[in-house]
Symmetry: C2
Subunit: 367 residues, 2 copies
DNA sequence: TTGAAAGCGTTACCAG
DNA sequence: CTGGTAACGCTTTCAA
C-alpha cells in the first residue's frame, strides 16, 4: 500500500507490447469495408465524405458495415490523397520577448478543435529552411505566426510563397493578411491619461529590453513610442526603464528606476507575470501599492488576480486572441472569410494596485 | 499615423492570394530531383534518409541538386509510405480537475521538438470512438494521457489495443506502462508533518470536489487518503473542505471552513492558482498570512511566486513532467527505453505563507 | 448511382 | 551501389 518515497525508476525489462508492427498493419481499411458491403471503394469513400450522390439504401448498408467492423479512416492517407491536411499550426517562439504566451495556445487549439481541425504546436524558433520545410511538408494547411516584428522575415517569406497564414501581432505593412493585435498605442495612451487624471505626474514606463525595440518588435516599439507621445502631449516627464522579462531583472530595473526617480508615483509595466518583480522591489523599499506607487501592466485577468493587491491592467485576452487567430485562419482555408484586421479597443481594468497618488510630501522614505 | 481606437473589422473584399491551388501542386518532388540528378527516386530517397549504401559521389551530386531546387520532403507522403508519423500527441482534457495544466503542454512539445518529432495538441475531452479514431488515424505514433483516474477507460482501451502511450498520473494497476506522477501521498504527509512540527494542530485540507474523489481521480483520492492517514497518525483532527477549482468557489469554501473551524491555523490546498481564493477569503476576514493562517498548495514555482506573501508549496514541476512524458514516449517509440515509473520525491518549498502558528489566544477575531 | 483506375509523394523490397 | 516497382490507404476523375 505504502508508495515508495523516492524516485522509482522501474526499468523493468518487461517484454514490451508489440509496437513495432507497422502501426496500420492490422487495421481495417476502406477496401475491407467495400468488400464486406459488396460495393466499390469509391462508393465507400463517397459515403465517408458525405457526398450526395449515393443511394440512401447503399449508404445505410455500408454505414452498418463500417460500424460493425469498427472502421475509422486513416487520416494520413486521406490527407495525402485529398491534398489537404485539415490541420493548422501555431509557431511558438522560444524567445522570452512576449506576454501571456501560453494562453494563445489553448485558444488556437480550441478554434481548431471547434472546426474539426487538428492542431500542431511548434515550439522553438524556426529558421528559414525550417519554415520552408514546414510549408512544403503538407503537414498543415496554414499557420499562425506570433511575436511579429515590424519587418518580419517569416511574414515576408509566407507572403511571397503564398502559404496561408494569420498573425497575432502585425507588421508595418499588413495588406492582404489577417491579424489580431493588441492596440498598444491606445492602451498606453489611455493608461497614462487615466493616471494623469488621478493626479499622477511622474509615470514611468517599465519597457521591454532595448534590443526588442531596436529589432522592431511590435509591442516594444508601439508602446514606447505611444508613451513618449502621450507624455509629451500631457506635459509629463518621460521616465523609461527597460528590462528583460525575468522577475529578478524586472525587480532590479525597478530599484534603479526608484533610485533615479524617488518621487515617481506610477509604473506602467510592459511585462507580464514578471511584473511581480516590480511588486517585490517596492516591497523591499517599504513602498506601498497603490498608496505610494500605482502599478499597471498588460496582462491576462486570471494572472492579474493573483497579485496582491490585484494588478490593474490593460486586459490582455490572450486566449481569445489565440481563438480568433485560429478561427480566421480556418475560415480563410475554407475559402470563406475575407482579410480581417482585429484590433480590439483596449480594456483598462482598474484593480487595487491603482489609486490617486498620495500627497507627494506625505511619502515615506525608502527603508 | 493615429491608429483607429475601436475594433477595425476590415472585411476588405480583396482578391485573396491563390490558396485554393492544391497546396502541393507546384512543389518540387523527389522525382524532379531524381530526373535532374540523373538518378532514380530510390537513390534520392536513400540519400534523404541517410542510408549508408550510396556512393559518396552520387550523394554529393544529388544533394547539390536538392539544394539548388530547394527541395524539401512532403512529410505527409513520407509518413504514409513509412508507416509512422514521427509525431506524438497530448490529450488535454477540458475538465477543470487538474493542476498546472498549461505547462505540461510546453514541456511535452519541447521533448517532441528535441527529438525532431511533431507535436499534436488535442484539447477537449475525447470519447471512446474519438480515441479509437485517433489511434487508427496514423496521425500520431503515440499519445500522452493526463488526468488519470484510478480506473481509466482510456488507459484500459489503449492497453487493449496496444497503442503506445504514457501517462502523466497513474492508475491502480500500472504494469507495463510508463508514467510520471506526483507523489501526492508523500507530499501531503510531509506537509502535514512539517506544519505539525511548527506547532500547528488544526490543519485543514482544501480538497478537490467530492465528485473527483468519488470518480477515482488519482490526485483527489491519494491526497485525501494520505491526509486522513497522516492526521490520524499524528493525532490531529481531520478538517476537510472541498471545492471546485474556481477562485470564487475556493474563496467560499474557505469562508465556510473558517466559520466551522475559526481556530484552524493552516490550510493545505489541492488547488492551483485558484488558491488565491483562500488568500482573498482570509483577507476579507482580516486574517493574516502566515501569522494567523499558514497556506500551502501543490503549485508551480512560477505561479507560487506571484502570490503575496509568496505561496509555500509542494513544488509541481509541470513543465518537467510534460517533458519527461514526451521523452519516455518517444524513447519507447524508438524501441529504446524500457517501462519507467517516475515518481519524484516531493519538494516542499517553504515561502512566506508558512510560519509557526501565532499563540492561539493571541488570535484576532474575524472582522 | 456506381465502379475502375489513376494518382497523391514517399519508402522499401528485390533484382541486378 | 543502383534502379524498378509495388505498396501506403484514400480521393477523385471519368465512364458506364
Amino acid at each position: 500500500m505504502a508508495e515508495s518515497v523516492t524516485m522509482i525508476l522501474a526499468s523493468l525489462p518487461v517484454a514490451l507490447p508489440v509496437i513495432n508492427m507497422k502501426p496500420t498493419a492490422n487495421d481495417v481499411t476502406i477496401a475491407d469495408i467495400a468488400q464486406a458491403a459488396g460495393v466499390s471503394v469509391s462508393t465507400v469513400s463517397r459515403i465517408l465524405n458525405n457526398k450526395p450522390d449515393v443511394a440512401e439504401d447503399t449508404r445505410r448498408r455500408v454505414q452498418a458495415v463500417i460500424k460493425e467492423l469498427g472502421f475509422t479512416p486513416h487520416a494520413q492517407a486521406q490527407r495525402l490523397a485529398a491534398g489537404r491536411s485539415r490541420a493548422i499550426a501555431l509557431l511558438f517562439p522560444d524567445a522570452q520577448l512576449s506576454l501571456m504566451r501560453e494562453e494563445f495556445i489553448l485558444g488556437a487549439a480550441k478554434a481548431a478543435s471547434d472546426a474539426a481541425y487538428t492542431f500542431y504546436l511548434m515550439t522553438s524558433t524556426v529558421s528559414k529552411p525550417q519554415l520552408a520545410a514546414l510549408c512544403h511538408s503538407a503537414l498543415t494547411d496554414g499557420i499562425i505566426v506570433m511575436e511579429i516584428h515590424l519587418n518580419d522575415w517569416r511574414v515576408n517569406f509566407l507572403k511571397k510563397t503564398g502559404f496561408p497564414f494569420v498573425m497575432i501581432g502585425r507588421c508595418a505593412n499588413n495588406a492582404g493578411v489577417s491579424l489580431i493585435d493588441m492596440d498598444f498605442e491606445q492602451g498606453i495612451a489611455q493608461t497614462i491619461e487615466h493616471l494623469a487624471g488621478l493626479g499622477h505626474r511622474k509615470i514611468a514606463l517599465l519597457a521591454l529590453p532595448g534590443e526588442a525595440y531596436e529589432h522592431g518588435y511590435g509591442p516594444a516599439v508601439r508602446s514606447q513610442d505611444s508613451y513618449v507621445k502621450t507624455c509629451k502631449r500631457l506635459g509629463l516627464p518621460r521616465i523609461i526603464a527597460t528590462s528583460n522579462d525575468v522577475r529578478a531583472q524586472v525587480s532590479e530595473a525597478t530599484h534603479k528606476l526608484l533610485d533615479r526617480h524617488p518621487d515617481l508615483t506610477a509604473i506602467v509595466s510592459m511585462h507580464g507575470d514578471t511584473t511581480i518583480g516590480v511588486y517585490r522591489a517596492l516591497q523591499e523599499r517599504g513602498l506601498c501599492i497603490p498608496d505610494d506607487v500605482s502599478v499597471i501592466a498588460f496582462i491576462t485577468s486570471r494572472t492579474a488576480e493573483l497579485f496582491t493587491p490585484a494588478l490593474g491592467a490593460i486586459d490582455f485576452p490572450a486566449y481569445e486572441f489565440g481563438y480568433q487567430a485560429g478561427r480566421m485562419l480556418i475560415e480563410r482555408l475554407n475559402g470563406s472569410g475575407a482579410v480581417e484586421h482585429i484590433i480590439p479597443p483596449p480594456q483598462l481594468v482598474l484593480r487595487r494596485s491603482v489609486a490617486e497618488p498620495r500627497n507627494a510630501s506625505g511619502r515615506r522614505n525608502p527603508a
